[in-house]
Amino acid sequence: MEQVDADSSPIDGTENASEFLLEARNIVKVFGPLRANDNVTLTLKSGEIHALLGENGAGKSTLVKIIYGALQPTSGSLLWNGAPVRIANPAAARAMGISMVFQHFSLFDALTVTENIALALPGNRNMTVLADSIATVSREYGLPLRPDALIADLSVGERQRIEIVRCLLQEPRLLIMDEPTAVLTPQEADRLFITLKRLAAEGCGILYISHRLDEVKRICHEATILRHGKFVSTVKPQEETATSLARLMVGGEVAVVKSGETAKSGPPLLELIDLTLPTDDPFGVTLKNIDLRVRSGEIVAIAGVAGNGQSEMFDAISGETLGNEKGAIKLAGEACGKENITERRHRNVAFVSEERLGHGAVPNFSLSENIVLTHHATGDGVVRKGLINRSAATEVIGRVTKVFDVRKNTADPEARSLSGGNLQKFVVGREIALKPKVLVINQPTWGVDAGAAARIRQALIDLARGGSAVLMISQDLEEIYEIADRIAVISRGELSPAYPADEISLERIGLLMAGTQDELGDNGELARLG
């Protein structure tokens, strides 16, 4: 699959009037009071890998949806090969040769690979013939797929392959990829880059959305940067540094997280002992013999590709799913495997779930009401004799807002009115305000802008250095290396030993994520400090 044809000449646009495959000129998109795109311009040539950079809420997704026909611009124009076009809907975009690989995959869990691909192709196809051509194309591009597999049974990396193969079968002129590596192991990402370079060499234009600056520097020819919906500039990533790109995205310096002194090993505050938990959900993951100790003063990170048991593990520790073994989970040395969430919270343990809206906070409740929901059992006097003490809840909001710089438009707004980053700061801050002995947090900075992410990471470090034990589940390896003291990897419901962060390489983590630790020989015993 590494054999990219060196002599395959790019199909350039010589027949066309314009040197550009796609031009988006002065695009404006208004959603109510929000200008999601404010006079954005982007040009892209055939055979070019063009990065679209920006923080969350910078307007990348909006621009891409306009190009893919899923949204109509309020004003501005699109030119395709130099000719003005109106792309009425995604079907029209696909007919023109524009394909898109979505960030949150557009696949149907209950259907097979072949059925999913058939749905994206025009006309009535013979399923057997289609299955053959899927096998051929996927082999040719080094993206192995089983045509008759059910989506629900596949890993996230495999799902993305389906999306890519589906696009390839349409022979696209322009391929849009929305954060494609967010869910891949480093090795899978490397394979993806080979495929993308090959496609570009064949003349396909690629619009590549990412916030991983090292990748952009590695594979992209051009980069267009957006900030708060506005066009900032178009640069050549190879001529920039990661810091200069970040500065363009954020519009200022990015806060640096200070990790302080490395943890001195204190007593274990969170222990998982041979935790095994079968799942009722046919699409869920069974946890197998999980052993882990998190000590006072340290941050342990669980790395892994989404869907390998992270949410099941979080639910088991928080008590959302109860196991049968009392001794499988110990908090501060006491077995509590059969206690419910509130009983565990009474032990001064706090949990931040992955889904901030709907799970971590009730969207239609005010912030003070959301405070009551997790603080009712513990401290702060939010509930006295069964009655809600509003002023105490408001006081907690005041504290959290101040420490975490939560930006809100009224004193006590509904949770859903906050932006993703601000709500996440609130949800994390609410738990940290309790000064928990143990904090378990799932995807602490998912979909959060750089400033908010830095603040949340700093808060986790400060909490740990203050003597608490922090267990962080994350898919973001940069984040893990930035703040974790030890790293364990979860794959198919099994957890590797926790290795000190400075002793485990990115490559090794990638292999563990893919579940191929045996090939390396397991040095786990050396690294296990427990």
């Binding site: 898109m100 557009s106 696949l107 149907f108 869990d109 259907l111 994206a120 629900a152």
Partner: protein, 306 residues
Amino acid sequence: MSELEAIILTIITASTPLLLAAIGELVTERSGVLNLGVEGMMIMGAVCGFATAHLSGSALLGIVAALFAGFAMSMLFAFLTQTLLTSQVASGLALTLLGLGLSGLIGESFTGVPGVKLAPLYIPLVSDLPFVGPILFGQDILVYFSLMLVPAVGYVLLRTRAGLIVTAVGGNHHSAHALGYNVIAVRYICIGFGGACSGLAGAYLSLAYTPQWIENMSSGRGWIALALVVFATWLPRRLLVGAYLFGTVWIMGLYVQGLGVAIPSQLLSSLPYLVTIAALIIISRNKTLTKINTPACIGQPFAPER
């Protein structure tokens, strides 16, 4: 006519309206829409079918009228839920109440009026055969239609591109939209199919089951049809089993009661529900299969971004 023959004939009569209404609702639900108005669409089909047949003297015209009545009711539901994005549960319940009330109003002048019975098919020679003749070759057209409709729907849903699109829209409407499918249009069509089938079920009640108009004559069959769809895990072949099982136990219960066996009548009348639930739970033990066939988006409103 032997006793067994009579029992079998009654079972078919009891099962057919359930099967017709349920197969229509199955298609609607597969596309991700929960229409709780089956009862209302059925009763409107019954009254319109009866009235048309009585006035024209043709049972076939009655069937056509019932089909359109059910279809019209379902289009009202589709307009409310798909275009105006009202709650599917509330709109479905309203549709049932509307249907029951409106049918009472329309049917007022038709109460006690002689009806037109849908004639059974007569095929020379074979229909005259003892026992098998009346059961296999002496049914009316709606019975045969319902029995052919189930495999036809099964084939379209599970084997064709059209069925794949319906399943995709019901499984993940955001993805289907992103791939360029018109989610709302697909759902309108499936809701319409469900309405037409419910209308036919109503026609069967007022033209074949008891060829007269009685207010409220659907007597909860729409709700049974809804339950059958869920218990059949949205699979047509299981629906066929479920509908006929329900019909069988129901009729057997009545028969046993007629014999004067000392079983409380309340127990006997709840037996069809219990047996059907138990049987369908046993067939749907395979959780993965169940989950695959459950429309994940059922009941959720969808509006494309603009």
